[in-house]
Each structure stands twice: as structure tokens, then as C-alpha cells.
């Protein structure tokens, strides 16, 4: 062990930087808070019985990062990094996700402690769980060796805990009970002294394996193995997708937005308790329900009164909130033309999450009329001593509107109504052969932070995420006029994208 790694020795040279000849495993970097972060492999941590006794140079603080293993879901691959980054940012830390790749559901990440690990994963929809990493290796023998080395520093805290073992196998074939037991028993060298408890143990230790598929069969041996202590499981692993399944809702419609991606959208919008969120095209309310699931107070508006009214008193949006036990987070739904918005100008929304209507089914409409001559003078019609347009039963006519203009309106609204760092997340459909970058709207007060793609056969749907920045920020503005190109998705859809 290098000399300088002993606590006493380092304390003696506290006013100098760490020596230049650091082993590769130890990295130092600077963070804005003038904290120094020290990445120590866990087996070296054993040197410092109590890491807090490390003496940092004046005005600086050492943070010892630990290795954690994240187990991802292999769904919506293109959205996974953005989800975790957004959740970390929401909790006030940054995270290096360079280990995340599409090839494997497992990757190692460095975090300060279990609390950060839990914050990163707890409400994630596209990951499954996070583990404190106790070892890894290409073979069981390698894994054992690594666990033996690293666990010496970790085990004392858990020696007496009640525990159980889990085997997590990605793409592996089913193991017999004997095979499972043999695998678990091969870790007997850890010599835990606590009781084994299958229900609610203090700790869950997991053996995780990733297999390749060869000739449509799982390979006989895993490509790679990990061992870890479970720190937190994700919202997905707790069954949110089953609970939010659209067909099980009292109220849904043909255009109800996918529950999984609605929850992901709300994670990217960083919606949380104490916030006010707004879906301007609420329809049957998937985004409002997802926002309330994460504790935010949800408002929705829609131009279609029938969608808001639902299918009777026990089958409307409020009923869905009741089903999920979030009635107290259901603000209101109002019938409103987004382009003639009735929310007072100084009301801020913490985030805006929506799927603007591109009108495949009904065409995109706003209030007004395309045939002004037909309505000319009609505002003067009086029925029973009242202006007809002021009567309770008056039906407001609607006119066609373009998706491009609506998106300009949406960005302008977000620029005016979001607080600094508040996010606008919306979905935009595009035909694949269009020059897509030219179709993405921009506003100088909003920074485009993500442009994520969900591919379909001849078209794709993009989740665009913008963050409102402070007064010093000046980005570019690209309105529909500057975009020049028309996003005539609806027309293309009906012509089968020819």
C-alpha cells in the first residue's frame, strides 16, 4: 500500500495536493463547490476505518465516491440516460453515466452514498434497481476473488443483519433450485452471521448475471457477473406500470397517452411534491395522472369539452385520480382553447408536460372560424333578449390550426410562465424522411436540453425537453416562419408517408 494512503501521513501533508504518482484507481477532480472528490476503490477504503477522519486541505472537503451497480430496464433505450440525469439534477447532484450502454442492462456508477443511490433510482421508470457493488468478474471465480477483496471493508456493518440472496439473471435460462442454491452457497465465504429471512430481510444480496443469446438460446455461461447489496428498487420494480395500465383505468379513450412514457415524461420534467404542473392538451389525462403520481398538483385544459366531461359521473378524469389515491392532487380541468388562454398572466407553472394534438383523428382546432363571412354579424343575434353568443347553450365554432403555429404558441407560453429551470416537455410527431432538425421549434429563453426519439415504422415521435433559463440566457429562436418547412404530419399520415 502506498505510504500516503495512511491517514496519519496524509494529515501531515494536508496543505499540499495529493502526490502526482497516484495509482490509477484514485482520481481527483474539482467541483464547483470547491469540493475534491476522491474515487477510491472499496478495498482501499478499508485503510480508513472511518473515512471522515481524513483531513482535507483547508476550505476543501473530500468526498469518497463508492461504486454502485445499476440494473436498467431494456425498454425505451434512448430515454434512459436522460431520465437518470434529470432525476440526479432534481436531487441536486450530477452523475457520470458514461458506463451506460445499450449492450448491457448493467453499469457501474460512482455516487457519494446510499441516499444518492436511492434518489437516483427510486422514482425511475426505465431502471430496475441499484446495488452497492461488492464485486464483479467475467467468471464466478473472478467474481469470488473480487468480492473477497472488496467485501472486507463493507461486511462488518452487515455481519449480523437478517438477509436473503437474490439471483438476477439477464437473458439467462431458468436455473433449477439446486443450481440456484449451489450458486448462493458458493458465497458462503462471506460468513454472514445474521438469520436468513425471505420476507422483509434487513439486507438483500444479489448475484447478477448477464447472458448473451447464441442461436436464439441463452449462452451456457454468463458473459459477466456482479455481486451487490440492494440499496433501492425503482418505481418500475414496484409495479407502477401494472397499476397504471390504461385498460384498467375507469376512464380512457382512443388517444390516451401511454402510461410508461407519461411517467418518463414527468421524470424528465422533474415534477415533484409542492409543484403546480399544467397539461394544456389534457384529454383523458395521462400526464396529469403521472404528475400527481410524483406528488405534483395537476391542472389540465382541453378544447374538447366531451373529453373533460368523460363518459358519465363515475367515468371521468377525477375517477382515475380516485383510483390511484391522488384525488387531493387533482387541481381542475377546464375547457379552454390553449391559444386563448384564461390563466392569469402572472401565474407560474413549475412544469408543462403534454402531447399536443396533431389531429390525426380530428384535425387540430382552435376557437374561431375559417369562414368569417358566414359568421359576419352573427354576434348581433339576440335570442330571448340575450346575445346568442352569451347564452349558456351557445356552441363555440372552431377553425383549423397548424401544428407548427401551435408549437410556437406553446414555447412562447412556456417562456412566459415557467420559473427559472422549470421544464417544458412535449411530444412531436415527424415523418422520418423530413429534415427533422429543421422542424424542432426553439425559443431564445428556453434551452433545448433533450431531443429524444421513439421510432415507429415510417414516422417517429420526439420528446422535446426545454428548460427555462434566467434573464442572462439568450438562445436562438426558431419559429414556424423560420423553420420554413411544414410539419404536415397529419397529411403525410393519411398518405401513408409516401
Amino acid at each position: 500500500m502506498p505510504q500516503w494512503l495512511s491517514t496519519a501521513n496524509y494529515g501531515a501533508q494536508q496543505n499540499t495536493n495529493l502526490p502526482a504518482d497516484l495509482p490509477k484507481a484514485v482520481r481527483l477532480c474539482q467541483r464547483p463547490l470547491i469540493k475534491q472528490i476522491c474515487f477510491l476503490p472499496l478495498h482501499l477504503l478499508a485503510t480508513f476505518r472511518q473515512p471522515s477522519t481524513l483531513i482535507a486541505p483547508p476550505g476543501e472537503k473530500f468526498i469518497i465516491m463508492k461504486d454502485y451497480l445499476v440494473y436498467m430496464s431494456q425498454a425505451h433505450m434512448g430515454f434512459r440516460r436522460a431520465e437518470l440525469e434529470s432525476l440526479a439534477e432534481m436531487h441536486g447532484f450530477s452523475v457520470d453515466l458514461s458506463g451506460l450502454s445499450e449492450k448491457s442492462p448493467f453499469f457501474v456508477v460512482q455516487l457519494e452514498n446510499d441516499e444518492q443511490a436511492a434518489q437516483l433510482i427510486r422514482r425511475s421508470v426505465l431502471s430496475r434497481a441499484i446495488y452497492e457493488l461488492w464485486g464483479q468478474g467475467a467468471t464466478l471465480a473472478d467474481l469470488h476473488a473480487d468480492v473477497k477483496q472488496r467485501s472486507s471493508a463493507l461486511i462488518s456493518k452487515y455481519k449480523q443483519s437478517t438477509f436473503k440472496f437474490d439471483i438476477v439473471s439477464y437473458q439467462g435460462s431458468r436455473k433449477s433450485r439446486e443450481q440456484q442454491l449451489a450458486l448462493i452457497n458458493s458465497f458462503a465465504f462471506l460468513a454472514f452471521e445474521g438469520k436468513i429471512k425471505m420476507k422483509n430481510p434487513d439486507q438483500i444480496f444479489a448475484i447478477l448475471e448477464a447472458y448473451s443469446i447464441v442461436n436464439q438460446e441463452p449462452a451456457p455461461q454468463p458473459d459477466y457477473m456482479y455481486f451487490g447489496r440492494e440499496v433501492e428498487v425503482s418505481e418500475r420494480s414496484r409495479g407502477v406500470l401494472e397499476r397504471h395500465e390504461i385498460a384498467k383505468r375507469p376512464y380512457y379513450g382512443t388517444t390516451t397517452f401511454d402510461a410508461e412514457l407519461a411517467l418518463v415524461s414527468c421524470n424528465l420534467a422533474q415534477t415533484r411534491a409542492g409543484q403546480l404542473i399544467y397539461d394544456p392538451f389534457v384529454g383523458t389525462g395521462s400526464f396529469a395522472l403521472a404528475a400527481a403520481h410524483y406528488g405534483a398538483f395537476a391542472y389540465g385544459t382541453d378544447i374538447d369539452f366531451r373529453a373533460l366531461k368523460g363518459k358519465g359521473p363515475s367515468r371521468r378524469l377525477a375517477t382515475n385520480f380516485e383510483k390511484y389515491g391522488t384525488s387531493h392532487l387533482f387541481g381542475d380541468v377546464l375547457c379552454m382553447d390553449f391559444t386563448h388562454n384564461a390563466f392569469r398572466k402572472n401565474l407560474l407553472f413549475d412544469s408543462i408536460v403534454c402531447d399536443p394534438p396533431y389531429g390525426v383523428r380530428e384535425g387540430l382546432k382552435v376557437c374561431g372560424t375559417n369562414r368569417e363571412e358566414r359568421f359576419e354579424g352573427k354576434e348581433k343575434i339576440i335570442i330571448d333578449g340575450e346575445y346568442a353568443y352569451l347564452r349558456r347553450d351557445f356552441i363555440q365554432p372552431k377553425k383549423n390550426y397548424s401544428l407548427d403555429l401551435l408549437l410556437d404558441d406553446l414555447l412562447q407560453f412556456a417562456a412566459e410562465r415557467l420559473p427559472v429551470n422549470g421544464r417544458l416537455c412535449f411530444w412531436m410527431p415527424v415523418a422520418n424522411d423530413q429534415d427533422i432538425p429543421t422542424l424542432v421549434p426553439q425559443h431564445e429563453k428556453l434551452q433545448l436540453v433533450y431531443n429524444l426519439v421513439q421510432e415507429f415504422n415510417k414516422w417517429s415521435r420526439r420528446l422535446l425537453v426545454y428548460a427555462k433559463r434566467d434573464a442572462n440566457y439568450k438562445g436562438t429562436t426558431i419559429t414556424s416562419q423560420e423553420r420554413g418547412l411544414q410539419n404536415d404530419f397529419r397529411n403525410r399520415y393519411f398518405h401513408r408517408f409516401k
Binding site: Y299, A342, R344
Partner: protein, 127 residues
């Protein structure tokens, strides 16, 4: 529509944007209903900075409640009775049916089946 929402909405007509009279709307012929919700003081406290007190007082008066102090009381956060009263007024009071009129342009909006309708007729929307 919750009473709370009356604190968020104004007249939708664009030419009313600049007028202070367009918020709050004037509430008349309202049918009210009390819908119970669990009392959640933290949530109410988080909403307090967003509220316009004058508008709460004005709309409450429209609906026949003149018991509210005319200026926002200090320290609502620590006043449990006040929070409970606000909970009942803002979150539990529903307007099931009613009429909302803009004090600036006189346009009338209706609340039907608890849902407020802010859609505009062509001569007000096209301008």
C-alpha cells in the same frame, strides 16, 4: 371547478389582457358543493405564495362569504384554524354550475357539470 381555480383564471379575450378588471371574474348564480378532502397543511402552505389574496376575498364575497380578512393575514403558515378554513374554502368548495363575467368586457363564461368553459365565440377569438 374548485374555488382555488377562481384565483388562477381571468377573461380569455386578448384585448382584456392589459386590464386589471379582467381578474378575478365575477361569479354569479353559482351552485356550490362541498367535496371533502384530507387536510394537508404542507400542501396549502406550498400554494400560499401563488395566491392573490384580494381575488380570494372578492370571489368569496361574490359567493356570499364576507368573513375573510381584507388583507392577507401574517403567519398563515402557523395558524392552523386559518389553514383549515382555507382548505375548506379553496380545495373543498366546488362550483358545480355557475356564471363568470368579465368586469372589463362583460363577456360571460359558464360552469357546467363542474367544468368551466372558456371557449370564445368567433368575433372574440378571431381578433
Amino acid at each position: 371547478m374548485k374555488f382555488l381555480t377562481t384565483n388562477f383564471v381571468k377573461c380569455a379575450v386578448k384585448s382584456c389582457d392589459a386590464s386589471e378588471l379582467s381578474f378575478p371574474l365575477k361569479y354569479e348564480e353559482c351552485e356550490l358543493q362541498l367535496q371533502e378532502h384530507d387536510f394537508n397543511p404542507e400542501f396549502l402552505i406550498s400554494m400560499l405564495p401563488r395566491l392573490n389574496w384580494d381575488a380570494i376575498v372578492q370571489v368569496a364575497a361574490d359567493l356570499g362569504n364576507t368573513t375573510l380578512p381584507s388583507t392577507k393575514p401574517e403567519g398563515i403558515e402557523d395558524n392552523e384554524q386559518m389553514l383549515k378554513d382555507l382548505h375548506s374554502l379553496l380545495l373543498e368548495t366546488q362550483i358545480i354550475n355557475g356564471k363568470m363575467t368579465c368586469r372589463h368586457c362583460g363577456h360571460i363564461y359558464y360552469i357546467k357539470d363542474s367544468i368551466a368553459n372558456f371557449l370564445l365565440p368567433p368575433h372574440l377569438a378571431n381578433s
